[in-house]
Symmetry: C2
Subunit: 237 residues, 2 copies
């Protein structure tokens, strides 16, 4: 029943409204890898979680996000078998990205924040990074993610959102070169690598490194063999 409900939710975004009502009318909630549910459904969910070994990723989509960085991360992870949820920072409506491509999120951050995710991924784009920096809701989720030792990943200008929310301070990190100056005092800035991993913090530099970023996340979440298989299928290996 849970699997069918979840499939319906992600196949038909209109049903998010029903899901929102479902989540909000139950005061006693349980966080799972797939969302917030009432205590009544806890045992069913535990069973679902046990039977489903796929890793999960939450990819944030904000107005002004760089559409290539967003879509490469989401697509590469889905090719690797990771269950990706695309959450609109500002809600469930279509999001206008940095080069005017309009993308419809799977759900809103407000709904998605109730779930647990193996990785939270922030695409770049100056406008998107600014919006993510200003979101207290995202900041709280990132702090919870970091405290639990789960993966936080950001590319291009998005590491400035990590800075804004105090995530990963003191760690090795990279970004789009134009925002380096903002980051050098708080992080050990790395200039010469396409992707930098320091524990559970994974960062990258721009559209031209987005495939490397997606494949590093695929490797960490789904294993090196799966990442190689995905790279081969995309004609990158």
């Amino acid at each position: 029943m849970f699997v069918a409900l979840r499939r319906s939710l992600f196949n038909n975004r209109e049903l998010n409204k029903i899901y929102t009502q479902f989540a909000s009318t139950n005061s006693t909630t349980t966080k799972t890898k797939f969302g917030v549910f009432s205590s009544k459904t806890h045992w069913n969910l535990s069973y679902s979680t046990t039977c489903n070994m796929s890793k999960t990723a939450l990819v944030i989509l904000a107005p002004g996000s760089e559409e290539m960085e967003f879509v490469i991360a989401a697509d590469v992870l889905r090719r690797a078998g990771v269950k990706v949820t695309v959450a609109g920072l500002a809600g469930v409506d279509a999001v206008q990205c940095s080069r005017d491509v309009c993308i419809v999120p799977d759900t809103s951050l407000d709904i998605a924040k109730g779930g647990l995710y193996d990785a939270i991924v922030l695409p770049g784009g100056l406008g998107g990074a600014k919006a993510m920096s200003e979101s207290a809701e995202l900041g709280a989720l990132l702090k919870e993610q970091e405290a639990a030792g789960r993966i936080v990943a950001a590319i291009c200008a998005a590491p400035t959102a990590l800075l804004a929310h105090g995530i990963g301070s003191g760690k090795n990190l990279t970004s789009y070169p134009s925002v380096k100056d903002k980051l050098v005092d708080t992080y050990k800035y790395v200039d010469d690598q396409k992707v930098v991993q320091d524990g559970n913090l994974i960062t990258s530099r721009g559209p031209g490194t987005a495939f490397d970023f997606g494949l590093k996340l695929a490797e960490v979440l789904a294993g090196a063999d799966k990442a190689k298989e995905v790279a081969k299928g995309m004609l990158l290996a």
Copy 2:
């Protein structure tokens, strides 16, 4: 007035309905680089076309299109200053791509086909290529594009749509390797290049060559210097 109208159209997709009514209620029409308009507005349009030297591209978005190939082509061309129109093959509604990313087109093919474009670009994805192969409307537009000597471009599985519509027969071409067998009898198939240009036909192989494909189109439409500038901004040069 025309420029303002066009800007509004592309800033607010809802206004496509008004545009559709506008186009359909005028029986005498003039094809321009920006759409179909009545003879009454012809002189205004000629003036607009003369004053605006930007090249134009129509990027087709079909159910099952590969979202990375689509978005990289559209984004790279917009970075190069090319005026990109994203046309939904099946209408103006959001399109579910091959890895479940949902993208809202700027307009429908039915509306966009009235315009003239310096390039028509077909992203890959097996489902998207099949839908494009079966579209008589797209076939007619591609034939017109080829006959006028303007650019036709396709990546990954989309060259099979060129085959279906009899475009570029006998020319050098490449594609995603898995569809090579369908193409070798009609085209001079090229295995060892990321992008193949033969006159006004430009083809490429898959997600891993999508940046090369976008940058080749940028070079052809906006010049080598602009393409290099775009590549540098994306950290690809």
